[in-house]
Amino acid sequence: MLRFIARRSLGLIPVLGVIATVTFFMTRMAPGGPFDSEKNTTPEIRKAIEAYYGLDKPLFEQYLNVMKGYLKGDLGPDYKYPNRSVRELILGAFPVSLELGCLALAIALAIGITAGLIAAIRQNSLLDYSAMSLSMIGICLPTFVMGPLLALVFAIHWHWFNVSGWDFARDRVLPAMTLGFYYAAYVARLTRGGMLEILSQDFIRTARAKGASTARILFKHALRGGIAPVVSFLGPAAAGIITGSFVVETIFDIPGLGRFFITSAFNRDYTLVMGTVLFYATLIVFFNLAVDIVQVWLNPKLKLE
């Protein structure tokens, strides 16, 4: 397993290299620069600032310098926040997004797996149909519809929560639900499908014939296999939760990395944009690695290749 992890981590390096290259040239080819919106700058001052950051050098030389910095683990200085490094900024904003993402994932798994299990046990009952219709509605209510709707009902109409902010524990409720519900709907459908497939297999009938209790059959025998589709969905779900956090952080005015990324792109804050993209890509790749390992643990028929 260690060899598998080592190989996948090594494989990450060329991927990150390509991402850095693409992002670099994409940001530089685009019109406009990081200091366009600065007030009170004469052309001379702007030239001096650009020279300070090495932005006056030929493009290819800039590219080599940036890549050299990345090889040393240096994400460079930030253009918009003087004297702060990109690394500091990312590490400062990420914990907020991480908390939001983890809460959303927890909600998605808790609600989704429970609903899926119930629907699978009571297949074709009223309970099953209502759970699955609800989840279809959940899938068709994207975060940017769900978020404002939840805010409208629970914050503006009933005043249970604040409309925006991230200061108190209860400020976590609406954003995490907004982000979590969408994935809960998917997880419920996947759990139901996976469980139905497993429950129809012979070893379940054997267990039942031996007199195992329903709870034991479900949790000891079936869940491990039935949950497999959910686990393989976790990779795309994590990527989706990251993009979803852009929207949720914008709606609820949360100072996380997602909102940071959007504003930095608007500001043409090149180094922060690239740093954030690389950070997210690394995160996703390692998350997928973890998902692969869990999958093999759940299904011994699979092997780490």
């Binding site: 994409m26 209510l141 994207p142 852009f246 944009v273």
Partner: protein, 312 residues
Amino acid sequence: MPSKTLSKERAPLELEAADKGASLWSDAWHRLAKNKLAIAGLWIVGGLSLLCFLGPLTRYLPAAIRPAGLSHSYEEQNLDARVTPPDARHWLGTDQLGRDLLSRVLFGGRVSLMVGLCATAVSLTIGVLYGAIAGYLGGKLDAIMMRIVDILYSLPLALFVILLMVLVKRSILLIFVAIGAVEWLTMARIVRGQVMSLKKQEFIEAAIALGLRKRRIILRHLIPNVLGPVIVYATLTVPGVMLLEAFLSFLGLGVQPPMSSWGSLIKEGADWMEDAPWILISAGTVFSLALFSLNFLGDGLRDALDVRAAKD
């Protein structure tokens, strides 16, 4: 006919299909017609499209037979009637500039549906060609091409779409291309799987024996035979694409005012939800309804054409 898309218990139909070209499709149509949810989805999508494309034309009707609610254009501002709730003059109310919401929702639907269709067409073209080439040529090229797809799969591509939309001058065309360029991966995988199983069949051997060029075999013989799964996944791609467009518009990166799309209207609704909740409610409802029916239609088509998720 694509025998791989038919399951075993339908073998007699498959034989029939070989005799009469159209019967696979009419057979699929009969199965689809039995699926009430899918048919409801088809009606709703059709109805919404008609409303969106013809609705804004009603203001050219003669004033005598035209109700007051149908006489507005999507960009006409009426500063005396700002943020008015739904009434007889403005059936869905107005926004902060006094623009009639009904006509904005219909116009936005045009944009959203157009993006859905065009970006799907882009992703379809890339995905089908990529998958067919990788699947048919096989070997090292296939391994490299599919490795690239695997890598792209594992990346948060929405990041790049956002970057592209921020950095380049925004236009509708760019939205089509940017969204289409990231939504082709699943299509490529499915087509590759289908082509790999088709290429071992006799009719391809016959084509090779006749000395046809690879290009002709791929374009004329392979691609037409993977149409079933392609149609199913194209139908399922449309809501995905519309979702991405709405996501971009919500962040202010999609279509620009005074144009509207369902996504930008939802954004407007979210900004004004305290004073004008009807904007959010009507735009959100219509958008979700469209996604809902497209998803059901896609699921129904998948069952009717009996396509399973291609796993390889």
